[in-house]
């Protein structure tokens, strides 16, 4: 067993505390009204913390950082719009809904249109949005478990089917992704089924501060060691293009072989001596021609008993042969110090070898570098225009040595080929939004309009979607009055705003310090950067990295466990009370409904686990964004129009919501399946045809992946048209309803309305 004890214990404590608090709070609040009343007895500060705690899910805690790392600037729209969505909710929807006294969207749908039927229609989107929202939480769980047990040898401890296997079927160390999903899913499902996990204010408020602590403390420690946010970002411009490789130019390079090294101080000494040797190299030696390059000059520098050789200085030369030589020697464990490699000029002359096809020198260099890397050598940046060519097994040693010598900035590691180039990563319209257009083979300039379309659709989805999330509105009632509710919202915006500054910092630092995550896929990819990044501190201060990584793991557990249980409670509630209690068996007894609640929790939990197991390859944040898009196309138009337009009829509302919501759902499911098919290499004529279609129609692909830009106007448009056609169905007491929605609560219209309403029946 090889598990970091700090990480394991922090995580275990969080899991136990979450489950315990769930049961503790369940005992304290037996009914739904207890849940709301409990909220009313606490102060604005506590309430604001609780709302924020409820809002910050695995997407906020892990996904934003992961996506900033993988996609750069474009991913910043997510945290910003998650926070801005709250503003939109505050401006247009929260006040009226609070006055109306509807706790959930189905409640509102029923009350606004006096129609239990509409309630049943409205409730189905609780399920759709809920399942889309649980998938990323499940991915968070699987990723965190896979991280904690990544180097644990569980062979012999666990049955064979629970182990990760390679392609040949040989058991590997570590835990496969699905085990974490199943474990967390099962534990929370059991908890909800047994009656735990009803989030009360105190627990949720505690959750916020736990998440805030877990994201901010590690990042401040990391920044104090490796440099602050701005410095980290600035590093992405230090080298243009993709890491060390593209900065190569073979003109006037001095190559110094400094032999093999054994210990850490050895590496430092070797590098130092190589540098001082360079200064002793006579000028004429730096202009050796190609023939002489291959005969090594032995240097005189021998102070630490190392053999140091001047390999050659290239002025013109054929890069292939030089690199062929380098790779041979690097393969033998020698290291080269490469000095004064100027930036690769774009306009390289073509070298024409008689009888051969013309190749640009850039291509020749690239081929040589490829050969070098296949031979096991790798190129490290060693400061301005200086590089080391070392064997890959010695990479870390030399990096550490260079850092202690101050040759490299102290933090940045070379990026793997798979990572997006710096320029693309830090600029708007990067990999996230240009994916479809890039696949279609468009040029960089032609991609930009598609990228703009993607960006706008994403913004609309996120800003409007917040208002349509089933579990957010409820919290507006946990305040004594409207003024307190507004003050609470102000604090919520501040609390979540501050939180959202931190996850992108993890993404930026992850790019600089943990670039190997670009090579991992699924649960081993950038989604775990928040968990793994603090661990690099171990190389500076023993144990500190493990403790901080344990803290972020604990925060991740808090995030996905609380969100998953909250979603499970609201989805199960909808299933038991609305679907079963009102549609299937309207005459059922409370005991039957209670049994149905337990059964429903297990059923929904099982479906969520199965769905969660399928989505390892999709990014956490992306999936949450998709849930927002569905909410934006269904519930947002319903709420917005019902609150502000008295001409709405039930038919208009239902047709608009269903059309917008279902079309968005269909498009999103389709693109997600295509993405999964590509990543998992599923094959099939239909899948291939779809993929071909996307390649040829990038605009349609973008509109399907991010449907909000057309689905929201479509839903609103349909609502207006159908409502105008069915004008006679406008509820007769519409003026009273609008008055309750808009008149200040102090006028006491709500009670009046409810009495009148009951009298009317």
């Amino acid at each position: 067993m090889n598990i970091d004890p700090w990480i394991l214990s922090f995580s275990a404590v969080t899991v136990i505390a979450t489950i315990f608090m769930g049961f503790w709070s369940a005992r304290r609040s037996k009914t739904a009204s207890d849940f709301f009343v409990a909220g009313r007895s606490v102060s604005v500060g506590w309430n604001a913390s609780a709302i924020s705690g409820e809002y910050l899910s695995a997407a906020s805690f892990m996904g934003v950082a992961g996506m900033v790392m993988s996609s750069g600037y474009d991913a910043l729209w997510y945290p910003v719009c998650y926070a801005c969505g709250y503003l939109f909710l505050l401006l247009f929807i929260a006040g009226p809904l609070r006055r109306f006294g509807a706790y959930t969207i189905p409640d509102f749908a029923e009350g606004r249109y006096d129609s239990p039927v509409f309630r049943k229609i409205a409730v189905i989107f609780v399920m759709f949005i809920g399942f889309f929202y649980t998938m990323p939480q499940m991915k968070g769980a699987g990723t965190t478990f896979a991280y904690i047990f990544q180097s644990a040898d569980l062979r012999g401890w666990l049955p064979d089917f629970m182990l990760a296997h390679d392609k040949a079927g040989v058991a590997l160390i570590g835990l496969p992704y699905w085990v974490g999903v199943a474990l967390v899913g099962a534990v929370i499902t059991l908890n909800v089924a047994l009656g735990g996990m009803k989030g009360i204010t105190l627990v949720q408020a505690f959750q916020y501060w736990a998440k805030m602590f877990a994201i901010s403390v590690p990042i401040f420690v990391l920044m104090s060691v490796y440099g602050h946010y701005g410095k980290q970002l600035n590093a992405t411009s230090a080298s243009q293009g993709n890491g060390a490789r593209s900065t190569f130019n073979v003109q006037n390079a001095t190559l110094v072989s400094i032999g093999n090294a054994v210990t850490n101080t050895f590496y430092v000494e070797k590098l130092k001596s190589a540098k001082s040797f360079k200064s002793q190299v006579p000028a004429q030696m730096q202009t050796l021609d190609l023939a002489k390059k291959l005969s090594f000059k032995h240097g005189a520098m021998n102070s630490i008993g190392l053999e140091i050789r001047e390999v050659g200085a290239m002025s013109t030369g054929n890069p292939e042969s030089v690199f062929a030589m380098l790779s041979h020697l690097a393969g033998l464990g020698e290291v080269f110090w490469v000095d004064s490699w100027t930036n690769f000029p774009v306009k390289l002359p073509q070298t024409q070898i008689p009888g051969q096809i013309a190749v640009s020198r850039r291509d020749a260099v690239k081929a040589a570098l490829d050969a070098l890397e296949t031979s096991g050598a790798c190129i490290l940046e060693a400061g301005e225009n200086r590089h080391l060519v070392v064997h890959v097994s010695e990479k870390n040693n030399y990096e550490a040595a260079m850092r202690s010598l101050g040759w490299i900035d102290g933090f940045r590691k070379p990026l793997p080929e798979k990572a997006p180039a710096d320029q693309k990563w830090i600029s708007p319209f990067g990999p996230l939004t240009t994916k479809a257009a890039a696949k279609a083979g468009l040029k960089a300039e032609e991609q930009k309009p598609f990228s703009l379309l993607y960006t706008y659709s994403l913004i609309i989805a996120l800003v409007c979607g917040t208002a349509g999330l089933p579990h957010i509105l409820v919290r507006f009632y946990t305040n004594p009055d409207g003024v307190a509710a507004k003050r609470t919202t102000m604090w919520v915006m501040i609390l979540i705003g501050i939180f959202y500054v931190f996850p992108p910092v993890f993404g930026v630092m992850g790019r600089n310090l943990l670039p190997e995550l670009y090579l991992g896929a699924g649960s081993k990819g950038s989604d775990k950067v928040v968990l793994e990044l603090p661990r690099i501190l171990n190389e500076r201060v023993p144990m500190l990295g493990s403790i901080l990584s344990g803290i972020t793991c604990a925060g991740a557990f808090a995030a996905f466990m609380s969100t998953f249980s909250g979603l499970l409670v609201s989805m199960t509630g909808a299933l038991a009370h609305d679907v079963y209690g009102r549609i299937l068996r309207p005459k059922s007894t409370p005991e039957q409904r209670m049994r149905m609640f337990k059964f429903g929790a297990v059923l929904i939990g099982a479906v969520a686990i199965l769905l969660g197991m399928q989505v390892e390859q999709l990014e956490i944040n992306f999936m949450v964004g998709q849930a927002f898009a569905i909410a934006a196309a269904s519930y947002f138009p319903l709420l917005f129009m019902s609150v502000w337009w008295r001409g709405m009829t039930q038919k208009g509302a239902a047709i608009g919501m269903l059309t917008g919501g279902l079309l968005a759902l269909g498009c999103i499911t389709l693109t997600s399946i295509s993405d999964l098919a590509l990543k998992k290499e599923w094959k099939g004529p239909l899948l291939d045809a779809t993929e071909q279609f996307w390649i040829h129609h990038p605009a349609i692909r973008i509109l399907c992946e991010q449907p909000a830009i057309w689905a929201v106007p479509l839903a609103i448009g349909l609502m207006i048209v159908v409502s105008k056609l069915t004008r006679k169905d406008i509820p007769s007491d519409i003026r009273m309803k609008m008055l309750v929605l808009h008149a200040p609560e102090k006028l006491g219209l709500k009670q009046e309305y409810i009495q009148e309403h009951h009298a009317g029946h």
Binding site: Y73, L76, W77, V80, C81, A83, C84, L87, F88, L90, L91, F92, G95, H228, Y229, G230, K231, Q232, L233, N234, S237, I426, S427, P428, F429, K448, L452, T455, Y456, I459, V463, G482, V483, K486, R487, T489, M490, M493, I494, G497, I498, Y500, V501, P504, W644, R735, M736, M738, L739, H742, A743, P744, E745, K746, L747, L749
Partner: protein, 110 residues
């Protein structure tokens, strides 16, 4: 309402509801437009002024600084203004109604 030209505030009247919704919508829309102008303007700035937006500020590119940091306080300011105004608006409405209500009550007693 029997006499629409009367200045009396009848909370069940069409005109009261109309003014009420209008005032609220005006405030919400004003805040939303300010916010949307910046939110939707930023991609346009990125699109048409890429060099400016790529300028370095304290190590950040300008656009990263705006979106990653400066946007949050901006949203706070808008929500602060909205909350302040909407509370004032509600109080004014309540006062209007209760003043009229008191006058009416006085008239009733005489």
């Amino acid at each position: 309402m029997k006499n629409p030209s009367s200045e009396k505030v009848d909370i069940h009247s069409e005109s009261f509801l109309h003014t009420l919704m209008r005032r609220q919508l005006k405030l919400s829309t004003a805040c939303a437009v300010t916010f949307m102008a910046v939110l939707l303007g930023l991609p346009l700035a990125n699109y048409f002024l890429p060099e400016l937006m790529a300028k370095r500020v304290l190590g950040f590119t300008l656009t990263w600084f705006i979106l990653g940091i400066a946007f949050f306080p901006f949203v706070w300011i808008i929500s602060y203004v909205f909350i302040k105004r909407s509370i004032a608006l509600e109080e004014a409405e309540v006062e209007e109604v209760s003043r009229e209500g008191a006058k009416e009550a006085k008239v009733g007693h005489e």
